[in-house]
């Protein structure tokens, strides 16, 4: 049991000693990244193969352990091999077979297999490449410009070990606030740091806490919003899976600041590993006395519980989330009163997002001034972005606020694959908007994104290339929000349905004059009149793509053309006669037999019967079939 700051320091020393001893007694340590995507890519098989190979070779002085998401998702499954006194080597895209070879060559033979290493010299920019060498992580472009605060432990510690968290100064911040600071001091420190909500709104965390702090003493609650619903955003999952204690500690600090003694983490049911690790962390903290009664002998009690979501996007909205924790339908209600005044069961409640809480302990530990020195003028600290879509290095990148989109996409992200051109980046998921290529050099922060007509949101960053149709993409997001509308208020329920109908007509080639003007007007009205954040932001993807890609909408409506070849009603497959070698493969694969021709005459597609499956284009060995 840890009852004093000295107890915690002693526990930390013990753990450090234990780790030192382990390192001295062992030949190597292998860490396998076992977050959801690692496991889906085959990390378990890799883990088993390493253990099995070591057993076969009768090696018992190698530690094999799991860690959370290392963040370089495009390279999963990932494993890190640490030989004392040597540079760490991170292997990517490994399978059971490669894993066995790594055991033999690297661990037994002492020579890293640099061609499979993510930090092998081959990964460096052109001109600096040297296949045979291993470079430090911070020279690898993906890691180079990252500053990891929220992700400080992800991929480094075993998320299921409290000891490893404490070794990295875990719970020292909680000890500090409980033994040295008043709740008002904590609120002041967080306010001073400039930390803003990382879940979407970007509201000052310190100010939010102050509202609840100023409510008269009595029952209050603190809630962590882990209902990460934006498609394409997965940083909260990664933090919960890779460093659950950082969220527990951040919540405990927040609870002390506002005077709450009960907290809930509202987590998506779609994240089973996150839920399991979070529950494990809570149980460990309780066992050690870091949660529960009289923490650090301060008289402060705090208890934490996980509540599962059940698949409703609207529950990411704070009042809907609270209704769901109470066991109700997740329908939002009008604000004010804000939850800080009247939240769970009518009591003052603070709701912050996972990443926000993960930033709290470092701010207390290293000070508000340190945090404030990172980032841009009105957006302090870092933001984790989930890079996905048409980009080489899919993964999680934590960057200082104010980094340009170009750096994120081309340096960290490694650019767009297959030589395609960058077309736009979607931020903020279904509530956000699109940033076209001309704004690649804009520094990313809350204010600049707002000026571009989008939002930071939770940090999903979906990259789109030339073959993404912006009209279809906007339709996709609206389809999402329309289905996720809870139905309580008509502007959202009816408005999004009407907008979706219009977009469906447009992509089917039935657009009419005046449609675009109507879409715009309706969008503005839905934004103005909806009850909650879901409706107020639902038209954003449509309005923002109309702002930057208007000509594509015009083409869809007036010329009945889809330049990206996505909207099937608006293009045809066409065999270029000059390029046709008359092999007949297309005719053979056509499922509706609508292609005719012979050795003498070029093949032709009967457009009336074509179902636009694209099989012919895929099968043609000479690239003679195009979309037009």
């Amino acid at each position: 049991m840890i009852r004093t700051l000295e107890d915690l320091r002693q526990f930390q020393r013990q753990q450090e000693e234990h780790m030192r001893k382990q390192a001295a007694d062992t030949k190597a340590k292998v860490l396998v990244g076992m977050g959801t995507c690692g496991i889906a890519a085959g990390a378990q098989e890799v883990y088993d193969a390493i253990c099995d190979e070591l057993k076969k070779l009768n090696i018992d002085d190698v530690v094999v352990a799991q860690t959370g998401c290392i963040g370089f998702c495009a390279q999963e499954p990932l494993a890190e091999v640490i030989l004392p006194g040597n540079e760490k080597v991170l292997y990517g895209h490994i399978d059971a077979e490669k894993a066995r070879e790594i055991v033999n060559q690297h661990i037994v033979g002492g020579k890293a297999v640099s061609r499979w290493a993510v930090n092998g010299g081959g990964m460096l920019p052109e001109g600096e490449q040297d296949e045979a060498t291993i470079v430090p992580y911070d020279e690898v472009p993906f890691f180079k410009t990252q500053v990891r605060i929220a992700l400080r432990n992800c991929g480094i510690i075993n998320p299921e070990s409290l000891g490893e968290y404490v070794v990295r100064d875990g719970y020292l911040s909680l000890a500090k606030v409980l033994t040295e600071m008043t709740p008002a001091d904590v609120v002041e420190e967080i306010k001073k740091s400039g930390l803003r909500g990382r879940g979407g709104g970007g509201f000052s965390t310190g100010m939010k806490w102050e509202f609840a702090h100023k409510q008269p003493p009595g029952q209050k609650y603190i809630v962590c919003n882990a209902d990460e619903g934006d498609p394409g955003a997965f940083m909260d999952r990664s933090i919960l899976e890779g460093d659950p204690h950082s969220v527990v500690e951040g919540m405990a600090i927040g609870a002390y600041a506002i005077g709450a003694n009960k907290g809930y983490v509202y987590c998506r049911a779609e994240y089973p590993i996150a839920v399991r690790r979070l529950n494990m962390a809570i149980a460990q903290a309780k066992e050690m006395g870091l949660l529960g009664k009289n923490i650090f002998g301060s008289g402060f009690d705090f208890d934490l519980e996980v509540r599962l979501g059940a698949g409703a996007f609207v529950c990411g909205e704070e009042t809907a989330l609270l209704a769901s924790i109470e066991g109700q339908r997740g329908e939002p209600r009008l604000r004010p009163p804000y939850p800080a005044v009247s939240g769970l069961w009518g009591k003052p409640t603070i709701i912050n997002n996972v990443e926000t809480f993960a930033n709290v302990a470092p701010i207390i530990h290293r000070g508000a001034d340190w945090f404030g020195s990172i980032g841009s003028e009105n957006s302090k600290g870092t933001k984790v972005f989930a890079l996905a879509g048409e980009i080489n290095n899919i993964g999680l990148a934590e960057i200082p606020m104010g980094t340009t989109l170009r750096e994120v996409i081309y340096e960290i992200g490694g650019g767009v694959p297959d030589g395609k051109h960058f077309k736009g980046a979607q931020t903020g998921g279904p509530s956000g908007g699109c940033i076209p290529a001309e704004f690649l050099d804009t520094p990313i922060d809350y204010d600049n994104l707002a000026k571009l007509g989008t939002i930071m949101g939770s940090g999903g960053l979906i990259i789109m290339a030339e073959d993404t149709c912006m009209v279809d993409l906007a339709r996709f997001f609206l389809d999402f929000t329309q289905e996720e509308s809870c139905g309580k208020c008509p502007p959202c329920r009816v408005g999004t349905t009407v907008m979706l109908d219009m977009l469906n007509r447009i992509v089917e080639g039935k657009g009419q004059d005046g449609d675009l003007e109507k879409l715009e007007e309706l969008g503005q009205n839905i934004k103005a009149a909806s009850l909650c954040g879901l409706g107020q932001t639902a038209p954003n993807p449509v309005l923002s793509t109309m702002r930057y890609f208007r000509e594509e909408y015009e083409e869809h409506v007036h010329d009945k053309k889809c330049r990206s070849g996505v909207c099937t009603a608006l293009f045809q497959y066409y065999i270029v006669p000059e390029k046709c070698k008359r092999c007949g493969i297309c005719a053979k694969v056509c499922p509706v037999q609508c292609i005719s021709g012979d050795r003498q005459t070029p093949y032709v597609i009967d457009q009336d019967r074509c179902i636009k499956c694209g099989a012919c284009m895929e099968a043609c060995p000479f690239d003679s079939i195009i979309k037009r």
């Binding site: 959801t36 995507c37 496991i39 889906a40 890519a41 998702c73 495009a74 999963e76 990460e228 619903g229 934006d230 498609p231 394409g232 955003a233 997965f234 999952r237 049911a269 779609e270 994240y271 089973p272 509540r307 599962l308 979501g309 059940a310 698949g311 409703a312 996007f313 769901s324 924790i325 109470e326 066991g327 109700q328 339908r329 997740g330 329908e331 989930a386 996905a388 879509g389 048409e390 899919i394 993964g395 979607q426 998921g429 999903g460 979906i462 789109m464 993404t468 993409l473 996709f476 997001f477 809870c486």
Partner: protein, 157 residues
């Protein structure tokens, strides 16, 4: 709505209900557990939950019908979920869904007549680096395409 006569499952369900007896706020928690045990939430299960937690049946049904995760229809032995999040959508999830629909002869959201497969298009699974992703009974398959998806299905027949 069907009736489940499986006795041990009912015993297990009743234990869960007893543990939360009278706690209205635990409704979603209990429904999660009930669906895990029973596979779905037919009327008699909802009635038992309503009575145990002292919540009106209409409220229980209101909650069940509100959340996507809860189902009042039995699901297939193998539950296929194709992620339709943005990253998967951009990388071709719609084509994967239609090829599976064609292969199974059902639409997304339905179950095959023999009760073997059910198919769903689901919200982002958060494994965007492996887009497009599909899961079968929680086992994830990444980087699928129309052909690979159908091939994976064959392992379950």
């Amino acid at each position: 709505m069907g009736t489940c006569n499986c006795k041990t499952a009912w015993d297990e369900l009743n234990e869960v209900i007893d543990a939360y007896r009278g706690q209205e706020s635990a409704l979603i928690e209990v429904l999660h557990r009930a669906q895990e045990i029973m596979g779905y939430l037919p009327r008699d299960v909802q009635e038992a939950v309503a009575e145990g937690l002292n919540v009106p049946l209409n409220k229980v049904f209101g909650v069940v019908s509100f959340y996507h995760h809860f189902s009042v229809e039995p699901k297939g032995k193998y539950q296929i979920a194709v992620c339709n999040g943005t990253a998967c959508y951009v990388k071709g999830a719609p084509a994967v869904i239609s090829s599976l629909e064609e292969e199974l002869g059902i639409k997304a959201g339905e179950t095959t007549k023999d009760g073997k497969f059910s198919l769903a298009a689901v919200r982002c699974l958060g494994a965007c680096s492996l887009a497009p992703v599909m899961t079968i009974n929680q086992k994830a398959y990444g980087l699928v395409d129309t052909e690979k998806a159908v091939e994976i299905l064959k392992q379950y027949e």
